[in-house]
């Protein structure tokens, strides 16, 4: 390779491409030509370290060049141009809303909103994906995904204390019959590894894993999605950070090895049989815990001016980011190494885990070192931030990198991507009445992998550590019902046990709808996340959300079209719900070749993670029926359309229309219900989502060990709505609430004029019975329903 590098500025395009492939940089033709042009202008050849640094800095993982680049979207004869898709949708929503309680958005490792009373605390929230590493080595990939997102929280501002981990996974169906290519793991294998990785990292570091989900679809057979999130608390006076020229560059935590080289550039490429094992990272939760403890102590003593995590790209990315204005002078021979058989450029780009970079005033190094020693946390001083805007990296007498920060961070060429709307034929004809009985269909739906109990996954996680998990992932009389949202009382961070302020965290995720209508998918996902928070008793008027997009190759115009439509949905949904985006991430190239050699892409996937304050955690709601005799109400309009429903998977109805979200009606409905919840009128609430209304009612009943006698006749519904759509349709903006009997009058006053109908009452008899006027629909005992639902996934 040295010979090729010595001719870099004169290499023809084909040789450049071959060099890129051999080195694993994942730079495209235009980027390679731009790098060549820049070095030609400098009048010299690049070093390997410089090209590695450029590849890392310009990678999809670090620069998000697809989402933040120009796009031309064609929808029939209509053409819309975006200069920067991300800014014109996601960021625009946040700027338009301009919420004062948003303390830091899009500028740091995580978004921060105000938390609690007195303006002392901020809540930092971030979600990431770790898809490609998990496809190669599920356990290590998941572990390091968790470790990475925790470091994002440690590296936001001057460091937040993590109080909650979240996890949402997408796997291929465990019963899939599709032949896998030689290098692919079975979905069962991937799921087991990922769950164990999340479990071991989260449990060992002492952060509760208490929110998330598991979704099965054969679209994820070759490319699983692993979303990991973290929330933490930070004092508001510790949010600002600034590297001061003259500060020392101090690396704390893990040592540097050859593991994880090319993880960032890996995210810019499809997975194939040549995927290198070195792209796998290995996690060490105990080392990260040491770094966490050091940071919390040193932060409060003001011992450093800035901090960031070593994530994708390692030192190259972290030091480059911190020194983007000041420049950086790095001496790699000072780095603590796991293995001495490592090249200088490898030290520079290695993605060894559990490392944080601090900007430390010289005068404070001694005090910091004392804390590091006391916590048994290794560290090294790698150099300083000089203030000359130049990145100079050496190893002994060898120059590894000598570049201007302006070129590194501003030099990436961006080019216009083509996007077009996917053509989907919609059938809105009423679904045929099923041949089977509704009661049996309900049991089948409860047993579906996307509806059934997740206890075999959830119970592996420690969701109680730190003692603040009020709204638990498993709820109800027997502690095994499906919670809608986690409610956290972060007293382990605030150390204030007299303040019962908390926050809720929930998710919305609907890729089955995305296959039909990506715009509605985004709206449904935002609505679902907000509704879940409402069901937990959170103040949804102060919802903040995260967007995590995953897609196949953006070189496919239809994939880009899906992205454009989903991003537009995000813009409209966020503004309508008054819920700003505070952070997000995207992951592309989630596609591989199947056993027949054909491209096998994932469906467009958008995870919306939402958080909102819970003013008093003692008043948080759960989903289970509480008391016999309490009336049961259905809130929201039952709309037509079976598109994207679980029912359609089991009994293809022919109808694939997606019920559009009426955002205005939903916002009004939730505002009214929020008042009723605050007034103490609601005993239980649960959203209507996968499986439809019948599944929601069954889950509320068997979680509470109480039955219900229901007549759905009063339920608000669209004209010509069929019974199948009423029971099993998944139209948005609906929830079931159990109202406290003595407060029914007040409840009705607070929801007056809204689409809220009484549909029955909670009963002592453990039977769920429903009719629709004169038509009996089903009568099922709770034990049978629960037995169908309570499957062992793993």
């Amino acid at each position: 390779m040295n010979d090729t590098l010595s001719r870099f500025t004169t290499l023809p395009a084909k040789e450049l491409e071959a060099l890129d492939k051999a080195a694993g940089w994942s730079l495209n033709d235009r980027e390679l030509l731009e790098v060549q042009r820049q070095f030609r202008n400098m009048g010299r050849q690049p070093s390997r370290g410089e090209l590695e640094t450029i590849a890392q800095t310009w990678s999809e993982h670090c620069k998000h060049k697809t989402f933040s680049g120009p796009v031309v979207f064609k929808d029939g004869s209509k053409v819309k141009k975006y200069k920067n898709l991300f800014k014109e949708t996601i960021v625009k929503a946040t700027r338009t809303l301009n919420r004062k309680w948003c303390l830091s958005v899009f500028t740091d490792n995580a978004g921060i909103v105000e938390f609690g009373r007195g303006g002392k605390w901020g809540l930092a929230f971030k979600a990431e994906t770790h898809n490609h590493p998990c496809a190669v080595e599920p356990y290590g990939g998941a572990e390091t995904g968790v470790g990475g997102v925790i470091r994002d929280i440690l590296g936001v501002g001057l460091g937040a204390k993590p109080v909650l981990n979240t996890d949402t996974f997408c796997f291929g169906r465990l019963d899939s019959k599709k032949k896998l290519p030689k290098n692919a793991h079975s979905p069962e294998r991937i799921m087991r590894g990922v769950v164990e990785g999340v479990r071991d990292y989260g449990n060992r570091i002492g952060i509760p894993t208490a929110a998330g989900g598991v979704y099965f679809d054969d679209g994820y057979l070759l490319n699983p999605l692993v979303y990991v999130g973290c929330a933490g608390l930070i004092p508001v006076d510790k949010i600002d950070k600034k590297v001061v020229p003259g500060d020392l560059i101090v690396s704390i935590g893990g040592r540097t090895g050859r593991d994880g080289i090319h993880g960032a550039t890996f995210s810019s490429a499809n997975i194939d049989e040549d995927t290198s094992a070195s792209a796998v990272q290995i996690g060490h939760a105990v080392n990260e815990k040491k770094a966490l403890d050091v940071l919390m102590r040193a932060r409060d003593l003001g011992l450093y001016n800035a901090v960031t995590d070593c994530g994708a790209g390692g030192f190259s990315s972290a030091i480059g980011e911190l020194g983007s204005e000041t420049g950086a002078r790095v001496r790699l021979e000072k780095a603590l190494l796991k293995d001495t058989r490592i090249e200088p450029w490898e030290i520079w780009v290695s993605e060894s885990q559990e490392r944080m970079i601090l900007s430390v005033p010289r005068a404070k190094l001694k005090k910091l070192a004392a804390i590091l020693d006391a916590e048994n946390c290794e560290y090294c001083v790698l150099g300083e931030f000089p203030g000359d805007g130049r990145l100079l990296v050496t190893h002994g007498s060898e120059t590894v990198v000598d570049l201007t920060m302006a070129f590194l961070h501003g030099g990436v060429p961006n080019f216009e991507k083509q996007a077009s709307r996917r053509k989907i034929k919609i059938n809105s004809a009423p679904p045929a009445r099923p041949a089977g009985k509704f009661g049996q269909i309900l049991k089948d739906l409860l047993a579906h992998p996307n509806v059934c109990s997740r206890h075999s996954v959830i119970t592996q996680y420690d969701h109680e550590v730190q003692g603040g998990t009020v709204g638990k992932p498993l709820q109800g009389k027997y502690g095994d019902g499906p919670g809608d949202a986690a409610v956290i009382w972060p007293q382990a961070a605030t150390l204030d046990q007299a303040d019962f302020s908390g926050f809720g965290v929930s998710h919305g995720f609907n890729p089955a709808i995305g296959r039909i209508d990506p715009y509605q998918m985004a709206l449904h996902s935002i609505d679902e996340a907000v509704r879940n928070l409402l069901c937990a008793g959170a103040d949804v008027s102060r919802t903040a959300i995260l967007d995590n997009f995953c897609a196949a190759s953006p070189r496919d115009p239809e994939v880009m079209g899906d992205l454009v439509l989903a991003a537009e949905g995000c813009l409209d949904g966020a503004i309508a719900y008054g819920a700003p985006f505070i952070s997000g991430k995207d992951s592309f190239y989630n596609q591989s070749k199947d056993a027949e050699g054909r491209e096998y892409p994932i469906p467009i996937s958008l995870l919306i993670s939402a958080t909102a304050p819970v003013d008093d955690v003692r008043k948080a709601l759960t989903i289970n029926f509480k008391e016999a005799g309490n009336p049961v109400y259905l809130a929201g309009l039952n709309a037509r359309g079976m598109g994207g429903s679980v029912y359609n998977e089991l009994h293809p109805s022919g109808n694939n229309a997606v019920a559009p979200l009426d955002m205005g009606a939903a916002v009004k409905l939730y505002a009214g219900l929020a008042k009723a919840i605050k007034a103490g009128c609601v005993a239980a609430a649960h959203d209507v989502s996968q499986g439809g209304l019948a599944v929601t009612l069954a889950e509320m009943a068997f979680s509470g060990g109480l039955g219900a006698e229901l007549d759905l006749a009063p339920a608000a519904r669209e004209k010509r709505l069929t019974t199948t759509e009423l029971l099993f349709g998944e139209s948005p903006a609906r929830l079931v609430v159990e109202v406290v009997k003595g407060k029914e009058t007040e409840f009705l006053r607070l929801v007056k004029g809204l689409s809220v109908s009484e549909i029955g009452y909670v009963s002592e008899e453990p039977v769920l019975a429903a009719k629709d006027g004169g038509e009996a629909l089903f009568r099922e005992d709770l034990a049978g329903l629960k037995a169908s639902w309570r499957k062992e996934l793993i």
Binding site: E137, G257, R258, V280, I282, A285, V286, K338
Partner: protein, 148 residues
């Protein structure tokens, strides 16, 4: 020295059923199975010191037993031994290394963590196929199968 830790038979049903289920998922019928944890400790320690590590550090005396020689579970079939490759960071091994230093006052040269699976089942090729499909990831693991 390899210290092998096994769950006492009366508490081992769950882990055995889990293993048999995983093998069944890969198309292999296993009639009976036993599992154990392995710690390969390299260091200048006496047998008595290794005994102490097994007894005081690595074993839960209520539910587990240890041995310094390869366990013979009284089952006819195969023994599968799985380790992380030497080039892969072994987090459990590193933690145990630190713990050994705390117990004995001297740090071993290396500690690696592995697992052994004893399976009464059909042919070695079928077992190997199932092991590769469900138990090990050859990117990070190495393994061997021997007849018992």
């Amino acid at each position: 020295m390899i210290i092998e830790i096994r769950t006492k038979e009366k508490y081992a049903k769950n882990e055995e059923e889990g293993f048999i289920g995983r093998m069944a998922h890969a198309g292999l019928k296993v009639q009976a199975a036993r599992l154990s944890r392995l710690y390969r400790v390299e260091g200048e320690f006496s047998r008595a010191e290794f005994e102490r590590l097994g007894k005081e550090l690595l074993t839960d005396p209520v539910t587990e037993k240890y041995s310094l020689s390869q366990w013979k579970p009284g089952l006819k079939g195969w023994r599968v031994e799985v380790w992380l490759k030497d080039s892969v960071t072994d987090v459990v091994g590193e933690s145990v290394k630190g713990a050994i230093a705390d117990v004995l006052g001297r740090e071993p040269k290396t500690v690696r963590f592995g697992r052994a699976y004893y399976a009464a089942c059909g042919s070695e090729p079928k077992l190997k196929h199932a092991v590769v499909k469900t138990l090990v990831n050859e990117i990070v693991n190495k393994f061997k199968i021997e007849k018992i």
